[in-house]
């Protein structure tokens, strides 16, 4: 690569995060530190039933029982600084915590925040087909489109509300896909989760709107531990969108979410994510540590779970949205674009666990690395003994922008049934000087050329996103690539 284009790529890679600002809203915080009292404080704040407090406490006991050796997962291609869990406040709720009748009652500063993000709630509300459950610092602030959802018997609310209004459903499914013993961060989340979203689609119902949740970390020094639970009953369908942006910060923030999906017979769940947490400054200071456990189970026959993600943010991303294909003929999909720049590190991928007969899974992962970033795909395809005729197709492509970044691919295959058909393709390419020159020779500027080439590279994934999101995704990628030029 020539000096010129390398220089530009470095500029692009070093460009500043464009969504950095802090909203001045008073919040009510838990005392700093993690102990049993913290867990009790959170549970009491949320007015939880006894069974949930007990579950949290069990999770907490498990968490503290983890020895140092099995504590922080260290197998990822990540350089994780030590995180002082005693220096974090585990609960922070906006002080005014009423139920809003209309948007007029919402803190104007909050609305201003959303408009800065380019997602004003008013506009969202008017956008046909999107119901937004806005989660700000863990507590659900406003829910729209409830009437439309009620009509269909769909439950879509904050996790806290679901605990109050639908305890039987929460009790039945909580921890079923991601038990608190699953991993270090899942245990931590189970003990101290503050809020999140809950969604239940009844039998035979096709959710008429795209369900959408925006998460935001706002109060300084507050880890956010959301918990999302989606249950799709027999023959139902739901498309769920999750988008994240976070304000600029100097200290690292821990984000350890858990998402659980249950798809019953012939149900289909499509889960889409745009992740744009603050990645830290050009020197790698600050930024979100994003340690997420996302997993769905295709419980019933012919069920389907599809994960699509655009990951552009966070200082460190550790995330493997996975599918357990338990039902016969069930289908799991994972489509991912991970873009890293500056000093970002991402280790992301999926696990496809084939248990039922005639199950199939598809994995398409596109990693783009710029600057000094490290970008790894890590994926497991496991075919159990009884999983007759399992099919998997995996494709992992990596693109390097510049010469100081890294791309890595770690595929794992565990095949215990000889009838399985598993295909894996992987490519690594570098945005070529030739490609950039070809574009420039047609009058296209270098920045636009890189955007074109990168967009072309991830096109098939972005096309999987719901339309509203696809536009946002392309804009986000363009902003991320823009750098200080253009």
């Amino acid at each position: 690569m020539s000096d010129n284009s390398t220089e530009l790529l470095h500029e692009v890679a070093d460009s500043e995060y464009k969504y950095g600002f802090v909203t001045d809203i008073e919040s009510e915080k838990a005392p700093i530190g993690l102990n049993e009292d913290t867990v009790r404080f959170i549970s009491a704040k949320k007015n939880e039933p006894d069974w949930l407090l007990k579950w949290r406490l069990k999770a907490y006991q498990h968490f503290v029982s983890l020895t140092d050796k099995e504590a922080m997962p260290d197998w990822a291609h990540l350089n994780i600084p030590e995180i002082d869990l005693q220096a974090i406040s585990y609960y922070s709720a906006p002080k005014q915590n009423p139920e809003y009748e209309s948007l007029d009652e919402v803190d104007p500063e909050l609305l201003e925040t959303f408009s800065k993000l380019g997602i004003p709630v008013q506009e969202q509300e008017r956008l046909v087909g999107i119901a937004v459950d806005v989660v700000m610092d863990s507590v659900s602030v406003t829910t729209t489109f409830n009437a439309e959802l009620d009509k269909n018997g769909i439950i879509f609310c904050s996790f806290g509300k679901a605990v109050q209004n639908h305890p039987e459903l929460v009790k039945k499914y909580l921890g079923r896909v991601v038990p608190y013993t699953d991993n270090y961060f899942a245990a931590l989340n189970s003990a101290v989760f503050s809020d999140g979203s809950f969604c239940y689609i009844p039998k035979g119902v096709r959710c008429p709107v795209e369900l959408s949740t925006y998460f935001r970390i706002n109060a300084a020094g507050t880890g956010q531990f959301e918990r999302t639970l989606i249950v799709a009953d027999d023959d139902s369908y739901v498309s769920y969108l999750e988008g994240c942006t976070a304000p600029q910060r100097d200290e690292n923030q821990l984000h350890a979410a858990v998402v659980e999906i249950v798809a019953m017979e012939s149900a289909e769940v499509k889960y889409s994510t745009i992740q744009n947490w603050y990645p830290g400054n050009a020197d790698g200071v600050g930024g979100i540590f994003n340690f997420v456990t996302k997993r769905g189970i295709c419980e019933g026959d012919r069920s389907k779970i599809s994960w699509t993600q655009l990951e552009t943010g966070s200082a460190i991303t550790w995330k493997y949205p996975s599918c357990i294909l338990k039902g016969d003929h069930s289908v799991g999909e994972f489509y991912s674009v991970a873009f890293t720049k500056g000093k970002q590190q991402a280790d992301t991928g999926t696990k496809m666990i084939h248990i039922g007969k005639d199950t199939s899974s598809t994995i398409i992962s596109k990693g783009i690395s710029a600057g000094n970033s490290q970008n790894a795909y890590r994926g497991l395809v496991r075919v159990n003994r009884g999983a007759e005729n399992a099919r998997n197709f995996s494709q992992c492509d990596s693109m390097l922008l510049g010469d100081r970044c890294g791309a890595h691919t770690y595929p794992y295959l565990e095949i215990s049934n000889p009838s399985a058909q598993v295909e894996h393709e992987a490519t690594t390419s570098k945005v070529g000087e030739d490609q950039i020159f070809y574009c420039k020779a047609r009058g296209i500027s270098e920045t636009d050329a890189i955007k074109l080439i990168v967009n072309g590279f991830c096109k098939e994934i972005l096309a999987k996103l719901p339309m509203e999101f696809a536009v946002e995704a392309r804009n986000l990628l363009a902003i991320e690539l823009e750098g200080s030029v253009g």
Partner: protein, 255 residues
């Protein structure tokens, strides 16, 4: 339109001088052919004109329509109306032809102070220009040059030329790898695009292309210099006798 004076160019990495005092003057609407043996510097000339990185101009000047070409970046040159048809067109996976050309055409039009084309007008333009070189209009959905045959790639270059409406087009061995039918299609396309305000520099190794695209002037490039210029009969003479007689005749200093 284009005036090159005493151009000396080295390849940056090799410190090797490729062009050694090249002079060339192309007037508006003229078609100039540049012929020469392998390694004479033909492609280097095309690359330097288009602004590819990796070449160092150590001496001389290039003026393009009154501007100092060497002061401009490659994309600026394209917007100013200089077009290079690549010898080896580059593939852009996932980037559709229509997206690529939309971006190219709009940046060129914006630079020239023209209004952006409506989506409908743009598609109409694409259809019209694709027909010039018998390209399937369905190509607009295909990725740039990906999966194109050799002939399609070359026709695609002429199609892009037509879309961008340049003042000066440089064809870098556009005939290489083409069968006679494809050659004719490409030449017909170019001939249609000839006009009094568009000049061409046709770089070729063989005389064959010049049967179809008849040049006003033929130059012979040997060892980085134009050693002989003449009318189209010169091309025929080269075809017949090769390049050796020129070396002898021009009595080049031993290099």
């Amino acid at each position: 339109m284009l005036e090159i004076k005493n151009l000396h160019v080295s390849i940056e990495e090799e410190q090797k001088e490729i062009l050694r005092g090249l002079d060339l003057k192309v007037g508006p609407g003229e078609v100039h052919a540049i012929m020469g043996p392998n390694g004479s510097g033909k492609s280097t000339l095309a690359s330097v004109l288009a602004g590819r990185d990796g070449y160092e101009v150590t001496e001389g000047s290039i003026s393009f329509d009154g501007d100092d070409l060497l002061e401009l970046e490659a994309d600026e040159r394209a917007r100013e109306g200089l077009f290079l048809a690549f010898q080896y067109p580059v593939e852009l996976p996932g980037v559709s032809m229509s997206n690529f050309l939309k971006q190219a055409v709009s940046s060129v039009r914006e630079h020239r102070g023209l209004d952006a084309l409506s989506a409908g007008d743009f598609l109409k333009l694409m259809k019209e220009k694709a027909a010039l070189v018998h390209l399937d209009p369905a190509l607009k959905a295909r990725a740039v040059n990906e999966g194109f045959s050799g002939g399609e790639k070359k026709r695609n270059e002429i199609f892009q030329l037509a879309m961008l409406d340049p003042k000066l087009a440089i064809l870098d061995e556009t005939d290489s790898g083409l069968d006679i039918d494809a050659l004719r299609i490409v030449a017909d396309g170019v001939n249609t695009l000839r006009s009094s305000d568009r000049s061409f520099v046709v770089i070729t190794h063989y005389q064959r292309l010049l049967d179809y695209i008849v040049p006003d002037v033929v130059h012979v490039l040997v060892d980085g210099k134009i050693v002989l210029s003449g009318d189209k009969s010169l091309a025929l003479k080269l075809e017949e006798h090769g390049y050796d007689w020129i070396r002898d005749e021009s009595a080049l200093p031993a290099s």
